[in-house]
Symmetry: C2
Subunit: 393 residues, 2 copies
Amino acid sequence: MENFNFKAETNILFGKGQVDKLPNVLSSFGKNVLLVYGGGSIKRSGLYDKINQLLGDDFNLFELPGVEPNPRIETVRKGAALCKEHNIDVCLAVGGGSTIDCTKAIAAARFYQGDPWDFTQDSRLVKEALPIVTILTIAATGSEMNGGSVLTNVETKEKLSFGSRKVVPKVSILDPTLTFSVPTYQTLAGSSDILSHLFENYFNKTPNTMVQDGIAEGLMRTVYHYTPLALKNPEDYDARANLMWASSLALNGLTGSGKSGIWSCHGMEHELSAYYDITHGIGLAIITPRWMQHILSEETAERFAMFGRRVFDLEKDDDMMKTAQKAIELTYETFKEWGVPMTLGEVGIDNKLLEEMAEQTIKHKDLATEAYVSLDKEDVLAIFEASLEEMNF
Amino acid sequence: MENFNFKAETNILFGKGQVDKLPNVLSSFGKNVLLVYGGGSIKRSGLYDKINQLLGDDFNLFELPGVEPNPRIETVRKGAALCKEHNIDVCLAVGGGSTIDCTKAIAAARFYQGDPWDFTQDSRLVKEALPIVTILTIAATGSEMNGGSVLTNVETKEKLSFGSRKVVPKVSILDPTLTFSVPTYQTLAGSSDILSHLFENYFNKTPNTMVQDGIAEGLMRTVYHYTPLALKNPEDYDARANLMWASSLALNGLTGSGKSGIWSCHGMEHELSAYYDITHGIGLAIITPRWMQHILSEETAERFAMFGRRVFDLEKDDDMMKTAQKAIELTYETFKEWGVPMTLGEVGIDNKLLEEMAEQTIKHKDLATEAYVSLDKEDVLAIFEASLEEMNF
């Protein structure tokens, strides 16, 4: 295990009816609130009205609607301008990871003289930020409990991230009933995203991290258990609750602290999203089993076999490679069974830009030296190409 | 899953050499420091000198040595008086759970006009507290990352607790090398204590808490894997590191949030410690398998079987009761193999006060309605009596 700092200072208010605490929560930060949200889903669900009703005349509510699924830097600029203009005290993000990520950049940009895209080049430029409160409406990115933010620059076709403790939400309201209305496709994308965070930390070079790995295995089992239940009955409270809490814990440092190295699948998927604006979680589900297959070797088989035994309850087998292979197969097959489109073609990506995206992956992420298994441009291209076809086992 | 609040705001500095950050950590709180510690172990290990050297002339260091293994209310009173007298800015607890628990009471008593024993009657009396920094020297109670404190009143033979977010440590320094010198007996007691925290939350009535249970299972596996390694080679860094981090995460809310009900074995053990001043973790190890055996039934067998499969890697068996029984047996046998004294006689307790202690258990804890399985005085007495004899399976 390596040295680390851990702090999970976000005050999580979890459960049915916690939204009612919003006025109390916000009032400790001030009266001028910037409400940031995405499309119309919070209006359709009644949450938008509920918030307005709760805050009533006691707060000055300003709005930034229309945050994109892969949030764009222009939207951040717009939000920062609103904060300056209206002397905002606190940002209220209502939505999923995109809305929260966008809000983090806005909260920091409020105090930054340059362009907020700079943060993706150097996170240390974040010196100060407005306090952030979130109301989560989908279990997916974990952004509600960490300091990470992923932004998209459509102009330069770049999807890049920054991270700072300054933008960790102060309070996050996690009411599982708010995810009852999440459609099938987004539920799938969310669960895939949670799993990917767990995979990326779990398949890692640092040895002797049983605490982190045990937690990751438990959270993976949770996602595999409850996703089909949530798909079958979107209003299954316990399924939604477990998925929601798993999403936050998957990326709040618990499974990654004490490990080093960088993530492989996210590096590749960010190029797919930057070029084709596809749903992040779906891109991850497509890439992941091909990446696993590509890096399976005598050296990695033990870890894949452990994953299979602990997460898919595979029986012990003297042939470790067989268990490892079965685990990869189950990773792929489970996504398919859930209904995730599992080839690039199904999300509108053909072979034309694969080489360019592979090049960009390597340009943006040091996968050669920092990944679980070293990847160069040819490896990435092979994984992209394998993602065009169905997998056969 | 039930509604809950979760916040883990303690800044954890984990790993080799983190103690060097102490001056920096303390300086954000002030110059007047009360150093609280127990026996001479921190002097023997060189940690005491190291702290003095690090703090040098930049701080005004006052001392409260001699905190007892079951910390006494008199020591709390003494510490609170020192805080008032020297206008202490920050309390520095160096040691294990007893030292940290005592420090929490001192930090709160600094601002309380009455007697600090009152806190054990009503935690809400804690309105304010001095900031607390800890340097942990044993993996056991998890007190370094939560707001709980257990105090002993020798006069009234009571061992009772209080809990408040006000006394959650601001910073905890977790350097596994500081636990290299922990003797075998204390290592055993520490691991037993960690396991007990996990058991108490795991064997619980609230259904559909797979997130919490999965985390608990992962931490239990960690403790079972690394304890023998730490016993064999006390300077095994990775063993000490995993045990240390497991101890903090076992009781920081991760495995208990979203569940209700109260703990059974701790209620019983606190009486043993209050009457006989035995080591808490050892008392828990003795009580636990007898409690498990006492409550094993058609109703609880499923959970014990799951525990056996997930934690001891027992194979699936159509006879759930058989797996459950095997899991309890392994719980007992593993403690024995490690070298834990597993009967009351071995820790100097005979049958004379069992009835009185059983009565006190029921008086202090509502085990009839709030426990995993309802226990009355006769049940507790039966568990105590079973703890006099070896278990036979």
